[in-house]
Symmetry: C2
Subunit: 404 residues, 2 copies
């Protein structure tokens, strides 16, 4: 049995086909490429129970990943994050089956580790020696760390406003880090120029086709954790949108293989009111988004004014009868605190936005109380210390606690 059932790359816009085993970035038509697998052969060769004794990382799904030689795998033990019942919070929201898939519990503390693990492994397999990418922080941190492990040089450009801890992660991994006084779109222009001038491997979101395959594993794990069933609704904080695209792709592949059946979950893209290009496009019933001017939100990971994969995100929403919701920063931060006090989870602001969106959609009747709802918390709250204000007294030695 083969380690990977990857067959080729395909353009989801013009259906041009590209061979596997070579470096490819965007299609000649400008669209991102998607990785295709021989799902028919795989579904004949394998069944879900074959996974049971596999390692507890995302590599347990290696047949559905693009890396062909197990020796290329660069792993820090990522994947199989917990699906945590949020019973008390759900009850408070009027949702009786609310779960959080906690993506904080991976190396580097954000779901970006999944894309980095698979993307860097495939780059290593393709013989890449140097990568460059723009980032809102967490992706750059994850790619720097996995690149270090693979022995690949990484050049990272991130906004000065990106979470400060992610700079440290890049530096500790020995990456060539640059800050820019601008947005991720400005960082993207710097990287594009460097890539064109110096022939570096472009690891920008969706400009390399493998990151999405790593993120796809969130969907694979979720249905395996639910014993090969699906929730009714999945809410995902959406910046570049690769997580949502990946989950959707995973569900389509599993359904084609016959491992799951029936309607897919309604997919919800959650954005900030300060940066809501997908929400605007969805409200306009458009198939693509417009550049969102003057973007700003404390949920920095979703501060993406125009995503290259916007049409794929919108497809996923339309095809699953999903929707797109924008949450303002104050509501998001209030939700973050409620989650901490109620469930003991310190989520990232992006994750908190998705919880606030679930609350809002329940209030509007878009989600029913008996529906099973899964929220992806895309990273650890500890990466965003500024979301929590601390104002406490300092005792001197020998002092006592005053009791209220």
């Amino acid at each position: 049995m083969k380690y990977s059932y990857v067959s080729h790359l395909e353009c989801p816009k013009c259906y041009e086909v590209y061979p596997k085993g070579e470096v490819h970035h965007l299609c000649s038509c400008g669209s991102p490429l998607l990785v295709r697998y021989d799902l028919k052969a795989l579904s004949e060769a394998m069944s879900p129970k074959d996974l049971m004794e596999r390692e507890l990382t995302l590599w347990r799904y290696h047949e559905l990943l693009p890396v062909e030689d197990p020796g290329s795998v660069v792993s820090l033990g990522e994947g199989m994050t917990p699906l945590v019942p949020m019973t008390k919070l759900g009850k408070e929201m009027g949702l009786f089956h609310l779960y959080m898939k906690d993506e904080g519990m991976v190396p580097s503390g954000s779901f970006k580790a999944r894309g980095a693990a698979v993307g860097v492994s495939k780059a290593k397999e393709l013989g890449v020696k140097e990568i460059a990418m723009p980032t809102n922080g967490n992706a750059g941190a994850a790619w720097s760390l996995y690149a270090a492990r693979a022995g690949i040089k990484a050049t990272i450009v991130m906004p000065v406003d990106a979470p400060e801890i992610t700079r440290k992660e890049c530096i500790v991994a020995g990456a060539d880090l640059h800050l820019i006084d601008g947005l991720i779109s400005d960082a993207g222009q710097v990287v594009a120029k460097a890539v064109a001038e110096h022939g570096i491997y472009d690891a920008s979101t969706l400009k390399e086709p493998y990151r999405i395959e790593g993120k796809k594993t969130m969907g694979l794990e979720l249905v395996e954790q639910m014993n090969w069933s699906m929730p009714n609704v999945i809410l995902y904080p959406t910046g570049g949108g690769v997580g949502l695209i990946g989950i959707y792709k995973a569900l389509l592949e599993l359904r084609e293989m016959g491992w799951i059946e029936g309607n897919l979950p309604r997919l919800v893209a959650v954005q900030s009111t300060g940066c809501a290009p997908i929400v605007q496009a969805w409200q306009d019933k458009s198939r693509s988004s417009e550049f969102f001017e003057n973007a700003y939100t404390q949920a920095f990971g979703i501060n993406v004014p125009k995503a290259i994969g916007d049409f794929l995100v919108l497809d996923a929403i339309y095809e699953t009868n999903g929707c797109a919701v924008a949450i303002d920063d104050a509501t998001m931060l209030k939700e973050l605190e409620t989650i901490g006090r109620t469930e003991g989870a310190f989520v990232c602001p992006e994750g908190a936005a998705a919880f606030a969106a679930a609350r809002e959609l329940k209030q509007k009747g878009w989600i029913g109380e008996e529906e099973t709802v899964v929220i992806l918390n895309t990273g650890q709250g500890i990466k965003y210390p500024e979301t929590v204000k601390v104002d406490v007294e300092v005792l001197r030695k020998g002092e006592s606690l005053s009791r209220v």
Copy 2:
């Protein structure tokens, strides 16, 4: 079959026995109490293969944990952290079988989540409504979060110098946080007074007997991950020492049950030269430690000048032919950077100290190149941003990267 095979509590110093199912703290002789199980009955009722289909958390070992009613379990999905091969770093050190068990990948990003999960669950089972504890930061953060999930009020006292992010975790969980201008020992006095005056449940290290049971699961997981075999050496960053005591207890219990056999790994307690009471005691061949004056280290988690369980740590070292090693802060931080650049892992300074100790013990010939060595990285590097200095240029929009 019972959910837990807990039988009673026992004093490891005077062998006094206390019944399970009641609140107990220290023995009347002043020693911490240990939880005992009916290992004979358990070994007859169960074998390792019964674990195979269990959930991927530390609760998979519930028979060897003190919580008797599954309804008491307070979980955020903690446990089953990866055992990561550190091949490149090991080769550089001359160690051909070097592994890191990465305790950063649990809720709150440090191994303290294990003790908190089991300790809070048992407190809930015992009907506790309010807990108090001193902490060097990470334990307070973890206990605050699990207490919030359990609906238990938490009062936390930590040094002002403790990692700042841990304050935020306490606050987001709604804990009653106090800072103190002193060490954890000073915080301990404040808590002791509050406990005596207000009848709060004392959750201080080893003053409640269940935290150690949570930490024990690191040892259970490790041998399960090694297919019920043991490494030759385990290195553990040692402050209060509960992690090391817990791993030792786990190995003894598994051996008594016949699930593992042979010599136990040599256990190595790793401290900082700035706070090395266990190392001093070991060098003096003593069975207990002296208060370490003027303690200071950047590895704040091991800044414990006198541990209540010191004699248990020293026992574990002596009984396994282990040793104790002190690492200075500069060496530790250099090792932290080497680990990042070589293996792509951003470890905490305490974890880095343990790697530096492995390097030193290999150089001295105390560890042989063919021995299997496991290092516990007790938390994520991102909780200690000050360990990495960032000094990079800020580009303006439209600027290009200069290539060296």
